[in-house]
Amino acid sequence: MAFIKNILDNMKPTFSEGGKLSAFGSLFDAMETFFYVPNETAKVRGAQIHDAIDSKRSIFFVIIAMIPAILFGMWNIGYQHYAIIGESSTLICNFIYGLGVILPKIVVSYLVGLGIEIAIAQWKKEEVHEGFFVTGMLIPMIVPVNCPLWIIAIATAFAVVFAKEVFGGTGMNIFNPALVTRAFLFFAYPSMMSGDKVWVNGDYMDSINGTIDGVSAATPLGQLAAGEPVTYSAMDTIIGTIPGSIGETSFIAIMIGAVILVWAGIASWKIILGTFIGGAAMAYLLPYAGAENFEWWEQLTVGGFAFGAVFMATDPVTSPRTEGGKWIFGLLIGALAIIIRVLNPGYPEGMMLAILLMNVFAPLFDYFFVQANINKRVKRAAK
């Protein structure tokens, strides 16, 4: 593989300060570190050896953890499509159809987001941070099948600039950028994000430019909000053969991701467990959480609850930094998501708003625990 090294080494002067293409230095740097672990060695003082883990690897493991949900989402797009137009199809057919729908969304999200990130990194003379690799994959996962590409592009640009880069980039943002994308879409283009027309793809072009006069299929949460009987069984919601945002439908696929994330030590199990406990408690306590043909606990398997708990709430940057804070954060997200779903007639889904709201409060939860430590120290000194 030495030839890659040679190519990169030959290109380096062109992209370095003073080179012809120095305006693309950050892009080159991103390519170089994509191929090779940086050869930078420790300074004279300080730890001389380092753990092999770096943010790149951690972040790519989040994407690995998302693969089951992505694959299932792809299949489900095709499955729902052929079911609604009344054609029979095969497993492969479903996959290929789903790939055709999801791939343009992923490409748009990455092109727009990474383009902005690289430009800003170049401007700030920094390395390109890899945080967007996760955000860029999350965005297509949390939008309806028929969300048009141009809207995804606008929302992604908005989120990267106003939810992330204005705060200082990866590690400094207050809100989860992928959720800001979704919130932007939700409030700016409500007709593209909710209702009965957006979840299942009747005509392929609907998924590209978002014509929404297509077929209609309600999600379980939509049926609940409308007071209609839920037409999906508990098993459907666990396996995921229901309409919904692309990545959110299969509880099983998401849980496989959760196991990978927790096992690799990347996501906090306290947040995930806390969210499920909070949600379960609230769903059990609220009298309207269940309905005909819908048990209270199915609140945890439908909609974006599981996906949000595993992939969104656990974002290390926008969640609390203290271990105690993580519990409170999780419990409140779960409880709040169910409260919004059940008690608010306007919004069938509450997960996005619950997480965004708790993102704001994350520093407050930390404050309690850090302040307790400070007070203990003050008390000790006074003795």
């Binding site: 672990v37 003082r45 050896i49 883990i53 770096d54 951690s58 690799a264 000790r380 000194a381």
Partner: protein, 447 residues
């Protein structure tokens, strides 16, 4: 029965090239050098001229602010060079060793008959006082201070660190005398590992600490036995340096001979060497360093040590010289996804958690990732066994918020306490440098 404290947080890094328990004498160096930088927080004023004859125990430089604080020559001979760097900063004072060693005679003393002031005076006179480190600030102790306690850690658990049992062998009597001498100045707390033979040392409050690295850090032990409050001062001193003190009272000489580990994957036969403080690194590792690749020599252990070279001198506090591969030509492909079987990591995205605990790793000096803002939480905390929020403290330091640093407990820490956190950090933040800057900033503000 000594108090036992169990510490759960921490991490043991099993590196290749641990020193075998064989001690041999290092060859005598032609020139010895005392490096002022080893005594952090002090401004050196050189009191000898090039060409002066000195004995072992004669002062080479003193602290400008406390001239009674002396830093003495480890050998007898002729001052050959006062090496200066930018802005005339003293880099080292070098002494060409005479063929026959002569020591300044400070007189044998029976510690039991002395009081605290007399012990302190003897230590100042002989220059051994310079080995005290004061917390807060982790700097050379101020002779005017009255510490609430003196802490000694007899646990060496940093990767590749010299084993205290080997170092103490043959020096037990001096160690005992040294502890008794310290006990005259202030209460002495001695931290030992479970089953240590030091449990019968007299004159010290002994606590057994059972846990992973960095349990051996004296800062961790202070935090668990008697945390430092604002306004309080404690002194710490290395167990090996307690031997120097005992030796002074038992023989009347300043004999800075210490047993250090020469270890690491790039050392051919890792073992212990008896050397004098200030010896040339080249003479310590002579013929023992692998030549097939670029090697990084470290003065100290790989977590807290300083990159050194064969031309440099052994720093005053160093208990080992380690050699690891430099690794700057490793060119590893696709590090973000490749399995990388030979890498050690706390993350289960690598396979080191599957390997037997006995597997020894060869880690090179690469940082192994890009520098980022702190992204993942809880990393520092998992290897920081003190009742302090390390991440919040580091952030307060970066922000230069002195009140918050104080509130979060900066008085209790030294840069070395953050060494393991710096190792595990996936954002590759230079924690020890930041903490050092924070401590210096605070000291400047308070003094």
């Amino acid at each position: 029965m000594a108090n036992v404290i169990k510490i759960t947080k921490g991490l043991n890094i099993n590196l290749k090239g641990k020193a075998a328990a064989q001690v041999s004498d290092a060859q005598m160096s032609k020139v010895y050098g005392l490096v002022p930088d080893a005594f952090w927080g002090m401004k050196p004023k050189v009191v000898v001229k090039e060409g002066d004859e000195v004995k072992a125990g004669d002062a080479l430089f003193v602290d400008k602010l406390h001239p009674e604080l002396k830093f003495v020559s480890p050998v007898a001979g002729k001052v050959s060079l006062v090496e200066r760097g930018d802005r005339r900063k003293v880099l080292s004072v070098q002494v060409e060793a005479a063929s026959a060693q002569q020591y300044v005679d400070f007189g044998k003393k029976d510690v039991k008959s002395l009081n605290g002031e007399q012990v302190k005076a003897a230590l100042l006179e002989s220059g051994l006082f310079a080995f005290f480190i004061s917390r807060p600030y982790a700097v050379v102790a101020n002779p005017d201070d009255a510490p609430k306690a003196i802490f000694v850690s007899a646990i060496t658990d940093m990767p590749l660190a010299a084993d205290i049992d080997v170092v103490l062998k043959g020096n037990e009597a001096d160690f005992q005398t040294g502890i008794e001498a310290l006990a005259k100045i202030a209460k002495v707390n001695l931290g030992i590992k479970p089953g240590s033979s030091l449990s019968n040392i007299k004159g010290a409050d002994i606590t057994v600490f059972d846990g992973k690295c960095p349990t051996g850090n004296v800062g961790v032990q202070i935090n668990h036995t008697s945390p430092i409050n604002k306004g309080e001062i404690v002194w710490t001193i290395g167990a090996e340096e307690v031997i120097f003190i005992g030796r002074l009272f038992n023989t009347g000489k300043v004999d800075l001979t210490r047993t250090i580990a020469v270890a690491g994957s790039e050392i051919k036969t890792p073992a212990y060497k008896k050397v004098l403080v200030g010896a040339k690194v080249a003479d310590i590792v002579a013929g023992n360093v692998a030549t097939d690749k670029k090697v990084r020599l470290i003065d100290g252990n790989p977590l807290t040590g300083i990159k050194t070279s064969e031309d440099a001198f052994l720093m005053a506090h160093s208990t080992e010289i380690t050699a690891i591969p430099e690794g700057d030509n490793a060119d590893e492909l696709f590090g973000w996804i490749a399995p990388r079987f030979n890498e050690f990591s706390t993350s289960r995205s690598y396979l080191s958690w599957l390997m037997p605990k006995s597997k020894e790793y060869v880690l090179d000096a690469r940082v192994k990732g890009g520098h980022r803002h702190m992204i993942f939480s809880g990393e520092y905390d998992s290897v920081f066994p003190m009742d302090i929020y390390p991440e919040q403290l580091v952030k307060a330091i970066i922000a230069g918020d002195i009140d918050r640093m104080e509130a979060l407990g900066i008085y209790e820490v030294a840069p070395e306490d953050f060494a393991m956190a710096e190792f595990v950090d996936s954002s590759k933040v230079e924690l020890q440098r930041i903490v050092r800057e924070g401590l210096d900033m605070l000291r400047k503000e308070n003094e």
